[in-house]
């Protein structure tokens, strides 16, 4: 499936490790879809399934994020730089409800609520891993 240009959502993304890995990420596993890898352009979506939704509960932050299951493809764009990366959903996350109201800003414009988690490969295509979070637009 190709990456599209239809607007899906906007918000804050963080990053996480999955699959075979080093350090504390050892044993992180392949995620909810079983095939998540830190070195691939993968992502975690808060509504990858009903079970996933029950954990992440983005609605508690006012984010009624639509269902997009394993294998869904999204184009993620940094709000300010315009850098983009095409990802495949391979996991459930982030736990949006735990970070309600959190913002990520650039050039004076902010996005609130964690609506996406990216693997290091995908996140580093948009920005600096040490930033921890970025404001993004999401397309499909």
């Amino acid at each position: 499936m190709a990456c599209g240009s239809t607007s899906l959502w906007a918000g804050e993304t963080s990053w996480f490790c999955c699959g075979n890995a080093w350090g504390p990420c050892t044993g992180a596993g392949g995620g909810a879809c079983g095939n998540c890898q830190s070195s691939a352009n993968h992502g975690a979506w808060p509504n990858a399934s009903q079970a996933c939704w029950d954990i992440t509960r983005p609605d508690l932050c006012g984010e009624n994020i639509p269902r997009r299951g394993c294998g869904s493809v999204m184009n993620v764009k940094h709000q300010c730089s315009g850098a983009t990366v095409c990802i495949t959903i391979t996991d459930c996350g982030p736990r949006t409800k735990e970070w309600c109201g959190e913002t990520a800003c650039c050039n004076g414009t902010c996005r609130s609520n964690r609506v996406l988690d990216l693997t290091p490969a995908a996140y580093s295509a948009l920005g600096d891993l040490s930033s921890g979070k970025l404001p993004v637009y999401i397309y499909e």
């Binding site: 963080s14 990053w15 996480f16 490790c17 699959g19 075979n20 890995a21 080093w22 350090g23 504390p24 990420c25 044993g27 992180a28 890898q37 830190s38 070195s39 940094h78 300010c80 730089s81 315009g82 850098a83 996350g93 982030p94 736990r95 735990e98 970070w99 309600c100 109201g101 959190e102 913002t103 609130s112 290091p120 490969a121 580093s124 295509a125 920005g127 600096d128 891993l129 040490s130 930033s131 921890g132």
Partner: protein, 206 residues
């Protein structure tokens, strides 16, 4: 504008990186590069005029050897890579630093450009960086006790470095509002020697 400049008049970082890796770079100042920080590095990507460097590459794994400015990396899926550090490579290990602090045994994520011989000329290298969803199990002055999945983890509090962000607010050096049982996102650097993590930022919600 020529092939070495982007649309904003800056130097095409990919081109400079390639030249740096090949030993032909003349460093011309951070302004022309759009800053030497990793955030800015690939911010304004331009189609390369050289088909050999038309997309960025990513490397993940443990450093098994260092030969001069080349890092030998064993990937977590059995793959092997060579990462070329250049004089424009940004390096992070707990903080922005230099290549001298990189050691055999460290974990690594690197972003760069693949050279014709397969070596990755690194634009940015993050050493031992982790970003973990944890639960706070214990709090001491110099360390946090965390659980990450099924594992226990010690988070070292680093003076003048560790900070906390509470409910989306700006980071502060005040860790006194952390509470046992809270979910916490921990950005830090893994210590291979004792499997602990040097905490750079701990973020908690409500």
């Amino acid at each position: 504008m020529n092939a070495h400049q982007d649309s904003s008049g800056g130097i095409d970082r990919r081109r400079l990186l390639t030249r740096a890796a090949l030993g032909g770079a003349t460093i011309i100042g951070a302004t022309a590069l759009g800053g030497l920080d990793a955030d800015a590095a690939f911010a304004a990507q331009q189609p390369s005029l050289d088909p050999a460097i038309n997309k960025s590459s990513f490397v993940e794994g443990r450093i098994t050897g260092i030969t001069g400015s080349v890092l030998e990396v064993a990937g977590s899926y059995g793959d092997r890579s060579r990462v070329q550090m250049t004089n424009v490579t940004s390096v992070w290990k707990v903080r922005a630093t230099t290549a001298e602090v990189v050691e055999v045994g460290d974990g690594l994520y690197a972003r760069g450009v693949e050279m014709p011989d397969g070596t990755i000329a690194a634009d940015a290298v993050w050493v031992n960086i982790v970003n973990l969803h944890t639960t706070i199990r214990g709090i001491e002055k110099q360390r946090l006790h965390l659980s990450h999945g099924q594992h226990e983890l010690v988070g070292n509090v680093i003076p003048d470095t560790t900070n906390a962000s509470y409910a989306g607010r700006a980071p502060t050096a005040d860790l006194s509002r952390l509470r046992i049982g809270q979910s916490a996102q921990v950005l830090g650097a893994w210590r291979p020697s004792d499997d602990s993590v040097d905490v750079v930022r701990v973020t908690v919600g409500h």
